[in-house]
């Protein structure tokens, strides 16, 4: 069963001076069960609007959405207890303590002190639980919001930019947390524009732009989209090396003080052997990996924002 199913989602906002702004323009998406699913897109691509529609905060103009197999329009209350979510910035009462904020939410589902303690422990906030939220750093607020999502022991977590505004240490913490949540068998649906983070944590990704799905699939599949993989070779005589590779039918170019061989990374041994047979010894040999950022920019370069 898909944890999230979106078919033809469209959301238009009316402008005050007439006309419409299209935030989501016919999005189709399916999120499989288990693991971390990255939901990527440039600012204004419709990520947050999509999440708001999924959680019933925003009414779609058209389309069908389901969470955990339940139609969002009619049966959301029946599954909301199994969904933990953060939409945009973590929203808590700033004058209440972190613990009181969690107590207010926990009571809605009849969760007791044990669940609150466990959640606070999980995000490392137990020592600061009795301090007002307004004294928390952004990272602590983010962690408190994640603690709130964990109160219900959810099967599905929907997190909108959970690492937004965090310092490097905070980003690492959130990354580890997302990984461990995904490893526990939960489904973590995370929107982000920090692509390196998503690449390190996600099993599957979807890239949206202008309110539409551009690409979706396992991370490796998406990375293979641009076909720009190769092998970087460094040695003393670059020109001799390029000629030796050309003689062995390995296309290559000299770029930025190195040879870039346009073959898949699994051809590294062949490159090394060819150069050695020509009396050339490499000082560095590494795959020219394509990162998600490159793929993302490649796929969205002509897209811009939805409106």
């Amino acid at each position: 069963m898909a944890m999230i199913e979106i078919e033809g989602l469209r959301k238009e906002y009316r402008r005050l001076r007439g006309g419409h702004t299209v935030a989501v323009a016919g999005l189709d998406l399916s999120v499989p069960e288990g693991g971390v699913f990255g939901f990527l897109g440039p600012n204004g691509a419709g990520k947050t609007t999509t999440i708001r529609c999924l959680l019933g905060l925003v009414r779609p103009s058209a389309g069908r959405l389901s969470l955990l197999g339940a139609d969002v329009g009619h049966a959301l209350p029946s599954v909301i207890g199994r969904v933990g979510s953060i939409v945009e910035a973590p929203a808590m009462f700033p004058r209440f303590t972190g613990r009181r904020n969690l107590e207010i939410l926990a009571r809605i589902h009849g969760e007791g002190d044990a669940a609150i303690d466990a959640s606070l422990e999980r995000v490392g906030l137990r020592d600061r639980a009795k301090d007002p939220v307004r004294t928390y750093s952004l990272g602590m607020k983010q962690r408190l919001a994640i603690a709130a999502t964990l109160l219900r022991d959810p099967s599905l977590l929907i997190l909108d930019e959970p690492a937004n505004g965090l310092d490097p240490a905070g980003i690492v913490e959130v990354r580890e947390l997302l990984r461990s949540l995904g490893a526990e068998g939960r489904t973590v649906f995370v929107s982000s524009h920090i692509l390196s983070e998503v690449q390190q944590t996600a099993d599957h990704v979807a890239i949206v732009a202008k309110g539409k799905l551009i690409k979706a699939g396992a991370v490796n599949e998406v990375l293979a989209t641009t076909g720009t993989s190769g092998v970087i070779v460094k040695l003393a005589d670059l020109e001799a090396g390029r000629r030796a590779l050309a003689d062995a039918n390995i296309p290559s170019t000299i770029e930025a003080g190195a040879i870039r061989a346009d073959v898949p990374a699994d051809q590294s041994e062949r490159i090394s052997r060819t150069l050695a047979q020509a009396g050339l010894y490499v000082t560095e040999l590494r795959p020219d990996t394509v990162d998600l950022e490159t793929v993302f920019l490649e796929l969205t370069k002509d897209q811009g924002v939805a409106d």
Partner: protein, 313 residues
């Protein structure tokens, strides 16, 4: 029930609730402190003289000499004793415990304003803190959220306003014991005072609910209070001045009628129809309750529909 418990915890944790209570208590202490400073306990001779004068006047009243020419008896009085208890007062220039009910009516404006403040704040805080989205991701049934919070607003307001009124009555009792007069009490003083307190609290709930639904429509505490006071002061105040006949449909006037149990009467010349004759009843107590209920229900329905339909962004 779980949501209700959560809402009560949220309301209990809000700073505005203790602030209103503390502010009210400070107001009581200052107000009655000034009253204590400007009054003094009469001598036994003064009380005795007032007692004999009072008994004569009360007897005259019971004999039917309680009204001037062409005066009407208020509808709230059900017996001649009631009329005389209200109409005849001892001739003493000091604070008297027997007046506590009337004074509670006079301070009801402040109590009701505190209720409106609580309603606006409890309704608007989630929008101001941006936590309404968080709440709705825990309980997506918006009608339930709206109604249970309205219930919490009513409960908080009734507790706070009754507490403040009881505190006022107790302090007033203490001040009159020391600096005024605690005799000349009408036979049903306790019942009358309790009735006044309940009516004031009921009107405080009505104003709090109106402030609450306005906060849900405007999505902030400030917009709620601004619209409420703008309407009450500018619109109702102005319109009542220009068209007195519409007073029978105004929210504030209805609350005044409910609390004072005195209908709004108007000379026939001020409304359509021939001049002269008996005054016309623009709003009696029953109609006042209905008017208040209509304001609360109509605004509540508008607010619910709007809350159900609008996106939470």
């Amino acid at each position: 029930m779980r949501l209700l418990r959560s809402e009560f915890l949220r309301a209990r944790s809000r700073r505005v609730v203790p602030m209103v209570i503390i502010g009210g208590l400070i107001g009581i202490v200052i107000g009655l402190g000034i009253a204590a400073a400007y009054n003094h306990k009469p001598s036994p001779e003064q009380i005795a003289a007032a007692q004999s004068q009072y008994q004569v006047a009360y007897q005259r009243c019971l004999n039917g000499k309680f009204l001037g020419p062409n005066q009407l008896i208020d509808a709230r009085y059900t017996s001649i004793e009631d009329v005389c208890n209200a109409a005849v007062a001892p001739d003493l220039s000091t604070i008297m415990l027997r007046d506590v009910g009337v004074i509670l009516e006079h301070i009801s404006t402040f109590v009701i304003l505190l209720g409106a403040l609580l309603g606006a704040s409890l309704g608007g805080a989630d929008w101001t803190s941006n936590t309404m989205g968080t709440l709705l991701t825990w309980e997506p049934r918006r009608l339930r959220v709206f109604l249970e919070r309205a219930l919490v607003v009513a409960a908080v307001v009734v507790v706070v306003t009754l507490f403040l009124q009881i505190a006022f009555a107790l302090v007033y009792w203490g001040v009159t014991s020391v600096r005024g007069v605690t005799t000349f009490l009408p036979p049903n003083l306790l019942g009358d005072v309790a009735g006044t307190m309940l009516r004031v609290s009921a009107m405080a709930i009505a104003f709090a609910l109106v402030a609450y639904v306005l906060a849900m429509i405007g999505r902030s505490t400030v917009s709620s209070l601004g619209v409420l006071f703008g309407y009450l002061i500018l619109f109702e105040g102005v319109i009542a001045g220009f068209r007195p006949s519409i007073m029978g449909s105004l929210f504030v006037r209805a609350a005044v009628v409910v609390i004072g149990r005195q209908p709004i009467l108007m000379e026939p010349g001020n409304v359509s129809g021939p001049a002269g004759g008996q005054p016309i009843v623009l709003m009696d107590v029953t109609k006042a309750w209905v008017v208040v209920a209509i304001y609360v229900v109509v605004l509540g329905v508008v607010s619910v529909v709007q809350f159900q339909r609008r996106d939470v962004t």
